[in-house]
Symmetry: none
Subunit: 248 residues, 2 copies
């Protein structure tokens, strides 16, 4: 018997798209990845940052499709209401997620972990975290609904990880080393490490942290041992350069 | 009495977008034009070329929003089923539109006016034609639903014409304050300012630009004085925090 293709729907959350300020490219990225994976994307909805609208869409999509993917509205500001809305759509409480809290505490210095940022650790009570290797604040999954941030670079790396984990994908390993050094300082040496180990992929993602730039180095591949070995090598290199490395 | 902004919804029809093959730019174009006209775009739905899905969306949107705009599915091929679906959504027959037929007859030589092309002259019985200055085959309007082709260049010129003919939108004002501070640092205070002034909307948009990180705070609303007042308040707050504010 022929296996039926899995179905999916995408919900993009953000007034900046509806006002025309921002061109949404996240749904196109996700549609491409879903297509490659053999999952059908059946519908995309772009909705305002309004709780009732978001709840209504999630409620509809989660029963209509095998998978639902959302983008946007999980940052630290007052208009980031996706987590709260997903919780309500599932009749769950929004609670401080211990794992997310620990990630944020490790990533930010005490003074930088503002109330606004800590908001990003409040998730639906049954949420399972989706790692964010770039800016650390995680996405999450509740049942068949996967919640991603709206920044394309971050969504893309997180989405690839999730797509790989959906039934049929190959196992994929990933570690992140963060540093306060800039790409200009470490770029050449990291490139040398990459050349020595072409079985893994080292991605370099600058981000803003503690009023200065930082870089997340993401080491990934399907050979777990190699990923861990190269992660150690990168960590030791950054440490030698006094770059305050942290592993996630 | 305060005049309410008109609302609208956009329906994009096309499997090529859901498979990731084509990046939809039509909705972004329309959102920008609507914003300039002072008409709110409240929702975008991207749907498959399936009659029941299209009928369902049109039926929903036409009663929910003042205006509905659709893109795609009015060409000469078998999967162009938008006209038929719009007719059904309004309980109208699909008939040969005399005006559309004459336009096509004038445009194509007899031999070129194939049965497939003549299909483009079959419209809902109460349809009013929207001129297509590029490839002639017209769009149309039934009540508050405006139907456009999917080719961006053609849609754009037709849409501008339609937008100009719509009774005003209300005037809408918008200022931007940029800062080098991050959302995590200013989020709590900006939220307080937003709460004090719910007559305007404050959007917060982080960006990366030439090695610098920043946030654009977009203050918008239909009360010009209030927009300017809140812009000053945001500007002064950012200045106090040494956040290097700039107004646009």
């Amino acid at each position: 018997m022929k296996k039926k293709r899995k179905s999916s729907g995408i919900i993009i959350i953000g007034n900046e798209i509806l006002s025309g300020k921002t061109l949404d490219t996240n749904s196109n990225f996700m549609c491409n990845e879903l297509f490659k994976k053999g999952i059908s994307c059946d519908e995309i909805n772009i909705t305002r940052d309004e709780e009732l609208r978001i709840i209504e869409k999630i409620d509809l999509f989660k029963s209509k499709y095998d998978y639902v993917f959302t983008s946007g509205g999980i940052g630290p500001t007052h208009d980031d209401i996706t987590s709260k809305s997903v919780a309500k759509a599932f009749g769950q409480k929004l609670v401080l997620n211990k794992e997310a809290k620990e990630l944020l505490q490790k990533h930010y210095l005490d003074d930088d972990l503002t109330k606004a940022r800590m908001k990003m650790a409040y998730l639906p009570e049954n949420a399972i975290i989706i790692d964010n290797p770039i800016s650390i604040a995680p996405g999450f999954k509740v049942e068949n609904v996967f919640v991603f941030p709206g920044v394309p670079k971050i969504l893309e790396i997180m989405f690839k990880e999730v797509i790989n984990s959906l039934s049929g994908g190959k196992k994929y390993f990933k570690k992140t080393v963060t540093t306060i050094l800039s790409e200009g300082v470490i770029g050449d040496d990291i490139e040398k490490i990459q050349r020595k180990h072409d079985i893994v992929e080292i991605g370099s993602y600058p981000y803003f942290k503690r009023n200065s730039f930082g870089v997340s180095l993401v080491i990934s591949g399907d050979n777990k041992k190699k990923v861990l070995d190269v992660t150690s090598e990168v960590y030791n290199y950054i440490k030698l350069k006094n770059g305050n490395p942290k592993i996630f």
